[in-house]
């Protein structure tokens, strides 16, 4: 018994160290400019996911994820590929639907916190940013336009999936993937689009982190939750409830958050290039709001049920950290120009 307990504690410590390592690798991805260094960092992050996937579930290699990751790495190492090949590799590497299946397969094999890190750290956006920065003329305008439409379509599919998913983390994951597809679509829409994409990216990463942390904390305290039924947690977990609702509304583009201005700016950047993509973008944003609200109602409202056991409370440092993050997101929503590099 004692041995088993020690083993569990050791496992938990190991998982925590692995998570910190993954976060460090993801952070490195965002700091590199040189394509070779970026490719190395991308591969290192990929190796980390493979290691964790094997450690968490089975020793089999996550093949789909390996293919997806490899496609992403190829563009950095071979930027002179034909346009169609570059576009295909970028789309697959970024997990555009149906290539999102490699991400989905990874979700099934990674621990929840580890997959949340993959979503929140947005390594695909880092990869695309690095690629465009290193090889500015590599993608022709027509290719960019096609990619843009593909990303908007993918965002639409992900937001639709968020409407039918039942597990809270999966609903949030689909919304985050939808938002990040919109970020990439916006980034391809000229300089205005890039400014907007940066704003939306900051909002997606910040809000995604807060919302996924809350979902994870709710799972720890109350076990498996389901978006198809009502759990009435507003009274049992009032602090998490408040943070979830405020952060969620700002995340999906309500005034008060940076996402509101970012989406507005993105629409304006996009409409000049493709009306169909703009309509898709607007519909995806609408679906995301409905998906979030449906999840909120499922988690926090409904007839109050007295829990069979007394769930442990959330550590106060977590509440403080999440509150500070939400306040920072609200502050960015009040002063969006802080996120714009080239104003005027």
């Amino acid at each position: 018994m004692q041995e088993q307990l020690e083993l569990t504690v050791r496992d938990q410590r190991g998982a925590r160290i692995a998570l910190v390592l993954g976060a460090a690798l993801a952070a490195v991805l965002w700091t590199l400019d040189d394509p070779l260094e970026l490719a190395a960092a991308w591969l290192a992050f990929g190796a980390w996911t493979v290691w964790r996937a094997r450690a968490s579930t089975s020793p089999q290699l996550p093949l789909l994820a390996l293919v997806g990751g490899a496609c992403g790495g190829v563009v950095l190492l071979a930027p002179h590929l034909p346009q169609w090949a570059l576009a295909a590799c970028l789309a697959i590497g970024a997990g555009v639907a149906p290539a999102h299946l490699w991400l989905e397969s990874l979700r099934r094999r990674l621990a929840r916190d580890e997959f949340a890190l993959v979503l929140v750290a947005q390594p695909f956006v880092a990869l695309l940013h690095g690629f465009v920065h290193a090889y500015p003329g590599a993608l022709e305008p027509q290719t960019l336009e096609v990619l843009q439409r593909v990303f908007v379509a993918s965002a639409l599919i992900q937001s639709g999936l968020a409407l039918v998913r039942r597990e809270p983390e999966r609903v949030l994951g689909a919304v985050i993937q939808s938002q990040s597809a919109l970020v990439i679509a916006g980034a391809a829409a000229g300089e205005t689009g890039w400014e907007a994409a940066r704003m939306l990216l900051v909002s997606t990463m910040g809000s995604g982190l807060v919302l996924m942390s809350i979902a994870s904390e709710l799972r720890r305290r109350f076990g498996a939750l389901d978006a198809a039924s009502h759990h009435a947690l507003a009274k049992t977990a009032p602090k998490l409830h408040r943070l979830f609702v405020v952060c969620g509304w700002t995340f999906v583009g309500l005034p008060g958050g940076a996402a509101f201005f970012a989406e507005d700016l993105l629409f304006h950047a996009l409409v000049g290039q493709s009306v169909a993509a703009t309509v898709g973008f607007i519909v995806a944003a609408g679906f995301n709001a409905i998906a979030f609200y449906r999840l909120y109602l499922a988690l926090f409202t409904g007839p109050t049920v007295r829990p069979a056991y007394a769930p442990s409370a959330t550590a106060s440092w977590k509440i403080v950290a999440l509150t500070l993050a939400v306040l920072a997101l609200l502050a960015l929503g009040l002063a969006p120009s802080l996120l714009v590099q080239h104003s005027g």
Binding site: T57, L101, E104, R107, R108, R109, I157, G160, L161, L163, V164, R165, R166, E167, R170, G190, E191, T192, E195, A196, A224, D226, A232, A234, P238, K239, R242, L243, V246, L254, P255, F261, D264, L265, F267, H268, A269, V271, V279, I282, V283, A285, G286, A289, I290, R294, L297, F300, T301, G302, P303, T304, I319, T323, V326, P336, S337, V340, H342, S343
Partner: protein, 433 residues
């Protein structure tokens, strides 16, 4: 020297501060006492009232319509998000309406929410709703209007779901949100189109852009975007469900104030699309159809609040027809009078039976009698019965929406999810799906 700008900006800030204080205290988990929340809401209502009075006095002293432009909040590569406010007859009429009705709501909510669980949340939402309605009414361009419009939507939805333990309330709030989002998407597209096609997004410039090719399309989108807030066909099924909200006080807000935002938006943007047949015809036909639909359905409703909701919907339909016919002043007067009447009726709805019995004109022997008049002579008893049954079932509008929009959409994405699971095998480790 106190300028109009100082009054407006100072007033908006002063109205924002109590709201922000309540919101912040809720967020950080240090709720205010009941008395403090009430005082904050009261202070905000007072500020709105005084500022409204000051703005109206300034307007009638001869300043005329004024546009106030603040520093841009965001500028990037030619794009600019600038707060612009417009003070004219239309905006001041709505500002005055909100200021007056908000006072009434606050006064009546104090006893209604005494020791009620979640009272501070209620005060916060009501204050934010009032501020958002002000933003919408004072907006000088489509961007500021959209901010207020979105906030009004979220506040209304949150008020409908105020009683979180009541499943019906929460489900109805989700339904209201779905209708709101559909129409908000139209407004967002209209806003983007305005920025893209017209020389300016300021309302004062709309008359100059009326000849633009895009004006008819933008006008049609604006008509579409106004439908959900005003519960016009086909976006009407949410309104009677919104009556699940707390007491009469919040029903006033979305039953008497926010439902009038649709006609208000049309009046505000009318110079742009007035000359074009498409938006005018859409506005008139939708209004007429809703007036007929709501009058018929309202007659079959058994409770006071729902009957009032349908009565409001019918009158709003008539206002839409007036706007389509170009009768702006009549529409504005109708809007004001209607909002006043509904406020009074919503407040009295809980004591309706007592009112009836105490009314010396009615007397104590109140009987509901079938009145066979011109209507039956025109349609015949059998058709009348059929219409009544159809009206009882809301003309199958809910079922129609479910079958033609909601179910196919959910079925499509459900199919995508099933394909995903078939390819990868199951929903995954520890999944609830």
């Amino acid at each position: 020297m106190i300028t109009l700008e100082t009054v407006l900006i100072g007033g908006l800030l002063a109205a924002f501060l109590p709201c922000a204080a309540m919101g912040l205290s809720l967020l950080i988990g240090a709720p205010m006492s009941e008395r403090r929340s009430q005082q904050s809401a009261h202070a905000q209502a007072l500020v709105l009232f005084v500022v409204a009075a000051a703005l109206i006095v300034a307007h009638f002293r001869g300043d005329g319509p004024r546009e106030l432009r603040l520093a841009p909040l965001l500028e990037a590569h030619g794009y600019s998000w600038t707060p612009v406010f417009l003070l004219d007859r239309l905006s001041l009429a709505y500002v005055a309406l909100v200021a007056l009705v908000h006072q009434v709501v606050v006064r009546f909510s104090i006893p209604a929410f005494h020791r009620e669980s979640g009272a501070q949340r209620y005060w916060f939402l009501v204050s934010l709703l009032a501020l958002s309605l002000w933003l919408v009414s004072l907006a000088g361009n489509i961007d500021v209007l959209f901010v207020g419009w979105e906030l009004v939507g979220v506040c209304s939805v949150s008020l409908i779901a105020f009683f979180r333990h009541n499943l019906r309330s929460t489900e109805n709030s989700l339904r209201a949100l779905v209708y709101y989002r559909c129409c908000d998407a139209a407004m967002l597209f209209a806003a983007v189109w305005i920025h893209h096609e017209l020389p300016s997004s300021d309302f004062t410039q709309f008359a100059n852009a009326a000849g633009s090719k895009a004006a008819a399309g933008i006008g049609a989108l604006l008509v579409l975007s106004s439908l959900a807030k005003s519960a016009q066909l086909p976006m009407s099924p949410w309104l009677h469900r919104a009556m699940e909200g707390p007491a009469t006080s919040s029903a006033i807000f979305y039953g008497a104030l926010s439902v009038h935002l649709g006609p208000w938006l049309l009046l505000r943007t009318q110079p742009l699309w007035d000359e074009h047949l498409l938006p005018r015809a859409a506005c008139g036909l939708i209004g007429l159809a809703t007036a007929v639909y709501a009058s018929l359905v309202g007659r079959t409703r058994p409770d006071a609040k729902t009957a009032l909701a349908y009565a409001a919907m019918a009158q709003l339909g008539v206002i839409y027809v007036e706007i389509a016919l170009g009768l702006e002043t009549l529409a504005l007067v109708h809007l004001w009078a209607h909002a006043g009447l509904r406020t009074w009726q919503f407040l009295r709805s809980s004591s309706l039976i007592q009112d009836f019995q105490a009314n010396p004109l009615v007397g104590a022997d109140v009987r509901l009698r079938a009145r066979a008049g011109l209507w039956r002579a025109l349609v015949g008893a059998q058709l009348e019965r059929r219409i009544y049954l159809a009206a009882m079932r809301l003309f199958w509008l809910d079922a129609l929406h479910w079958r033609t929009v909601a179910r196919p959409t959910l079925a499509l994405f459900g199919w995508v999810q099933r394909v995903e699971e078939r390819v990868l095998g199951g929903a995954g480790r520890g999944s609830a799906e």
